[in-house]
């Protein structure tokens, strides 16, 4: 897995974030200002309470506290209103930027060259688009507003403490070194631990899904105990890591408690001396103690959010890594409809070629079947012709070939939407015609909601053969000059394969087609058959010519048709 997709570094992340944030500068300033006002107003509470203490201590009439109470009520309402507005603006900012980022990510991801994605595996891309996007969304939704509010609360509270008396600030800061040390201590241990936890969780999930999905196989092969053991081990590993995480968090809190005590004791002591020296009232000392105890919550919040922020930053690096790739224009699809490959060699691993100087020419409109044993190089040749891999040696000219592989994918959503991916402006009639061409119209119209039926993940389940017909219908809609079909009928079983052969024949009519033939009946109906062996073309000719030649193809056909 050395070919994972790129990850962005700090400057690249800042550049992309800056670019995304620039249009929203006013919004950002407004959100910050409102939250600052909210926090500032909230800070009036403690001295107001202290004022009540002073009024009582001075033995002034009871009614003297009424204006202070009114002030407290006004502060409460103002703080609530400013907080609501500030939070709304903050999430507007965060969510808008996030939406833009994920759209850009998907755009760049879908334009990656296929060879690069194949090397990295689609798993990497899928993990980024689910795990990392939701990680950042969570951070934007929860951590960002909390972090902004808590940081503002800390800074402004410390300012307020200093306004009461600078010596209170000094006393409060006694806690700071302990907290900073604790935060560093925690993040250093938490980040690798949580990374391990995520891996273990993913592994457990995969183990469970593997074992549960394969229930029938496990029972048939009597592997129940082995799989119960595997699941138990994966689960135990998660429990152990969870407990290590819990222990770490609890030790983290223990250190924070120490810091709290140290700071509180210092503030009370400062209050004691300042009151005795006459430079502060009892009310001021009370306000200072209240201020300080109000610091516990935001302090803990900021420290706890540190590792969320770290995780989000890592996720951001992976998203931006892909989102800052240049968009490559897809290869041009127009062309004369001919294919000419000359002297093509290819090696996935240097020094171990799988194709040795293959020449292959397809005239416009010609249908050629590739036949050969597994490992003969059929698929490699097909992919090179389709432009998925550049060949190691030789040249390939093609007319913008479209490739259908045995891997079928039905896109989630209405069936019509799936088809329109191939031609977004297609009318319903055009969709029906395409389905009819590949023999899929009957079952498509018989679906619960016809072409509007939700198919794919979470929707109506199509059979393997239906999914392949759908793939062929998309191909008809995309209307390319050259088609490469690789094992398009492989997984359907014998009965379905025959239907699919007819569909494939209809979809490739009047087009140049290279067909990797699985069933020899496909070869029999092609204009020309090319037989491959160990990376070489060993026979070429029509079905009848090759049968008459009594070579490899003739032997294969005899075995296949049961006529030996």
């Amino acid at each position: 897995m050395s070919d994972l997709l790129p990850t962005a570094d700090g400057p690249a992340i800042r550049a992309v974030l800056g670019e995304l944030l620039r249009p929203h500068r006013a919004l950002a300033a407004g959100a910050f200002a409102l939250l600052a006002v909210a926090t500032g107003v909230g800070l009036v509470t403690a001295p107001a309470l202290g004022r009540i203490v002073d009024i009582v201590a001075d033995g002034r009439p009871v009614d003297a506290i009424t204006p202070v109470i009114v002030l407290l009520a006004v502060v409460a309402v103002a703080q609530g209103a400013a907080t609501a507005a500030g939070l709304a603006l903050t999430s507007r900012l965060g969510e808008t930027v996030l939406a833009r980022l994920r759209e850009r990510f998907v755009e760049r991801a879908l334009h990656l060259p296929l060879a690069q994605v194949e090397k990295a595996g689609t798993g990497d891309l899928t993990a980024r688009v689910t795990g990392d996007v939701s990680l950042i969304a969570e951070a934007v939704r929860r951590a960002l507003p909390e972090l902004v509010r808590s940081s503002l609360a800390i800074v402004l509270t410390l300012v307020a403490l200093a306004l009461l008396d600078w010596r209170f600030l000094l006393a409060a800061l006694i806690a700071l070194p302990v907290q900073l040390y604790t935060a560093r201590w925690y993040v250093r241990r938490a980040v690798p631990l949580y990374a391990k936890q995520r891996v273990a969780n993913g592994e457990q999930q995969q183990r469970l899904l593997d074992s549960i999905r394969a229930g029938a196989t496990i029972r048939a092969f009597r592997l129940e105990n082995e799989h119960n053991g595997r699941v138990a081990r994966a689960s135990r590993a998660v429990v152990d890591l969870t407990m290590r995480g819990v222990t770490l968090v609890l030790r983290f809190y223990m250190r924070l408690h120490i810091a709290e005590f140290a700071g509180l004791a210092a503030v009370l002591t400062a209050g004691f001396f300042l009151v005795r020296g006459g430079s502060a009232s009892i009310g001021t000392a009370t306000a200072a103690a209240l201020y300080f105890s109000n610091l516990f919550a935001p302090m803990n919040t900021v420290l706890v959010l540190l590792d969320d922020a770290q995780a989000a930053a890592a996720g951001l690096a992976r998203l931006v890594g892909v989102a800052s790739l240049p968009v490559r224009e897809p290869r041009p699809l127009a062309g004369p409809g001919a294919v000419a490959a000359t002297g093509v060699t290819h090696a996935y691993v240097a020094g171990r070629p799988v194709l040795h100087g293959v020449d292959l020419t397809l005239e416009p409109g010609e249908r050629v079947a590739l036949v050969g044993a597994t490992g003969a190089g059929k698929t490699t040749l097909a992919r090179i012709v389709a432009g998925v891999h550049p060949p190691t040696g030789g040249t390939v000219g093609n007319g913008g070939a479209h490739l259908v592989t045995q891997e079928v994918h039905v896109f989630a959503g209405p069936l019509a939407d799936d088809l329109r991916l191939a031609r977004p402006d297609a009318t319903d009639d055009e969709l029906r015609t395409a389905l009819d061409t590949v023999g899929a119209l009957t079952w498509a119209q018989a679906l619960p909601d016809g072409l509007a039926t939700e198919v794919g993940a979470g929707g109506h389940r199509l059979t393997g053969a239906q999914s392949q017909q759908l793939a062929l219908a998309r191909l008809v809609l995309a209307d390319p000059h050259v088609i490469v079909l690789d094992e398009a009928t492989a997984e359907a079983g014998s009965t379905g394969a025959r239907t699919l052969e007819r569909s494939a024949a209809a979809a490739t009519r009047d087009r140049t087609a290279l067909i990797v033939a699985h069933r020899l009946t496909q070869a029999a109906s092609a204009d020309r058959v090319v037989v491959m062996e160990s990376g070489h073309v060993v026979e070429t000719g029509t079905h009848d010519e090759l049968r008459a030649a009594n070579g490899r193809y003739a032997a294969l056909w005899a075995a296949w048709s049961g006529s030996r």
Partner: protein, 546 residues
């Protein structure tokens, strides 16, 4: 578990299994809560006795007391919360393994009507939720204890002030919950939209090869942008509502504190309570909001935990597909298989290589389930060496008769590890899989291999298991014609002398069988050699050669 498990029983069982940890955790977390409640009390006392009177000795004494309280609350939290979390994690682990054990039980039946993803979610998410009930319970008990202590202190300071706090705080929280109600609904809708956007992205990336194949990248990007924007609109609406709720709760809390200050200030001014007591009361009023909202959270966790326990119980209580047998498998299996059930009527002699052609794939599937004793026949009997399968434990049946499914799953690990058996190399060769490196890695679900490679490794595994009776279902659908002919010969040679049933319509495989049974319209209709049937039976030709 003798009685059918219900949700309540599952929950109780899980809690009972962890009672030691739970008790310890409740006791120590209560210590923590009391400590938290004592901190504002001590601040008040320090203001009163030390700062107010300028008494240095008193300051030292009360700071020392404060230190002891901090020590106690910190220690109680560390040990108590640790024990509670451990109890929860252990309970989740026990349930998770129990669910998987039930799903993999040889008697089957747990998968009926449940998708693998749903079962996985039950084994992970629901098990975790039931585990979380443990955490909620100790936190809840501790919160109750903290509230009680706070209430006693407040009422001792002043009954009217105590009543203002104790009667004022719950309605405040209820109001907060009421405000949050519509929000929860919206947040549900929002999560659905967000999940949808994420699902669309995964779906498009999953179909990347297909998109590239038809040049549909731009159309796909446009589709994702629309979903993403719809999700953004929904998210912003929910975020605005949530911001409004946060602001309202903040304002209400502020007003509550103003009320406490009003009542407390008047009492202090009239001399009914001391200054320190006023400070304590205000501190406690703020502090009690914590445990009170903990109780609301505990309530929600319990409701979710009960629902999760019910889902787990439903899996554990799902009826078995087949009952256990009443006697053990005889020591040596000759391998005579007779199927005279549900329309099938044929016999495989010991050592025979028998082909079964089912014109309708559903008949083939039915036959395979009967042979592997995944279901028992409605009428008639399936026998091994003259012994009905219904009398044997399904696990024993499968030791004797291995039914290898057409779409068998491979497991993460090496190819050789997947194949297993006494002689994996011979099995790989017979299955035409010898070109796949035995050390190659099979990714999750076998996805690093091609479809054809996967199928041949699965076939090799079935051959390597070397059971007395082997039933293979369409083992070569993803294998090219050249290799298929090789595989047919390989299977024949390797299974020499042991009973093998090939359920297939592939002529290349049928050509090497001793005899073929034809199944049409749900019943055995004819039998003979492949050449014989191909020559004289038009239905057979349609099923096999067309």
């Amino acid at each position: 578990m003798d009685e059918a498990p219900t949700g309540a029983r599952v929950l109780r069982g899980a809690l009972r299994g962890q009672w030691r940890g739970l008790t310890l955790s409740t006791a120590l977390c209560s210590v923590h809560q009391v400590g938290e409640a004592l901190v504002p009390v001590l601040i008040g006392v320090a203001v009163d006795r030390a700062i107010g009177r300028g008494d240095g000795r008193a300051l030292l004494v009360w700071l020392a007391v404060l230190g002891v309280v901090y020590l106690g609350l910190s220690w109680g939290f560390r040990i108590g919360a640790g024990a509670g979390e451990r109890a929860g994690a252990n309970a989740a682990h026990e349930l998770r393994t129990a669910v998987v054990r039930r799903v993999l039980d040889p008697r089957g039946g747990a998968e009926n009507g449940r998708l693998p993803g749903a079962l996985t979610a039950i084994a992970t998410e629901d098990a975790r939720r039931v585990g979380a009930v443990h955490v909620a319970l100790f936190a809840g008990f501790a919160a109750l204890f903290g509230i009680a202590v706070g209430a006693v202190v407040l009422l001792r300071i002043s009954v009217p002030l105590g009543l203002v706090v104790l009667l004022g705080a719950p309605p405040l929280l209820v109001l907060g919950r009421l405000l949050a109600k519509p929000l929860e609904k919206r947040s549900g809708a929002e999560q659905e939209r967000v999940a949808r956007a994420s699902a669309v992205a995964v779906d498009l990336v999953g179909g990347l090869r297909v998109l590239k194949g038809i040049g549909a990248e731009a159309a796909a990007v446009e589709r994702y942008r629309r979903t993403s924007q719809a999700s953004l609109t929904a998210t912003l609406r929910a975020a605005r509502a949530e911001a409004g709720q946060t602001g309202t709760v903040l304002a209400l809390t502020g007003l509550f504190i103003a009320l406490v200050a009003l009542v407390g200030g008047r009492l202090a001014a009239s001399g009914a309570i001391t200054l320190g007591e006023l400070v304590t009361a205000v501190g406690l009023a703020l502090l009690l909001l914590g445990p009170l909202s903990t109780l609301a959270w505990v309530n929600a966790e319990l409701a979710q935990g009960r629902a999760s326990a019910a889902r787990i119980a439903a899996v554990l209580a799902s009826p078995y597909a087949v009952p256990a047998g009443d006697h053990a498998l005889p020591g040596r299996v000759a391998g005579r298989v007779r199927v005279a059930a549900d329309g099938f009527d044929f016999e495989a002699a010991p050592g025979e290589l028998l082909g079964v052609v089912a014109a309708d794939p559903a008949d083939a599937a039915r036959l395979l389930r009967l042979l592997g004793r995944e279901t028992d026949p409605g009428r008639g009997t399936v026998e091994l060496d003259g012994d009905p399968l219904t009398g044997l434990h399904p696990a024993d049946v499968r030791t004797a008769i291995l039914v290898a499914p057409h779409d068998a799953d491979l497991f993460a690990g090496g190819v050789a590890e997947n194949v297993g058996g006494a002689d994996p190399a011979a099995a790989m060769k017979a299955a035409g899989a010898d070109e796949i490196a035995a050390s190659a890695h099979v990714g999750e679900g076998g996805r690093t291999l091609s479809g054809g490679q996967r199928q041949r490794v699965a076939l090799a595994r079935a051959l390597a298991a070397d059971p007395p009776v082997l039933v293979l279902h369409e083992p070569t659908t993803a294998v090219d014609a050249v290799t298929e002919a090789r595989v047919a010969e390989g299977v024949r040679a390797l299974r020499q002398g042991r009973t093998t049933i090939l359920v297939t319509t592939s002529p290349a495989l049928l050509a090497v069988t001793d005899r073929v049974v034809l199944v049409q319209d749900g019943a055995t209709s004819d039998a003979g050699t492949h050449a014989d049937l191909a020559a004289r039976h038009p239905g057979y030709r349609t099923a096999v050669l067309a």
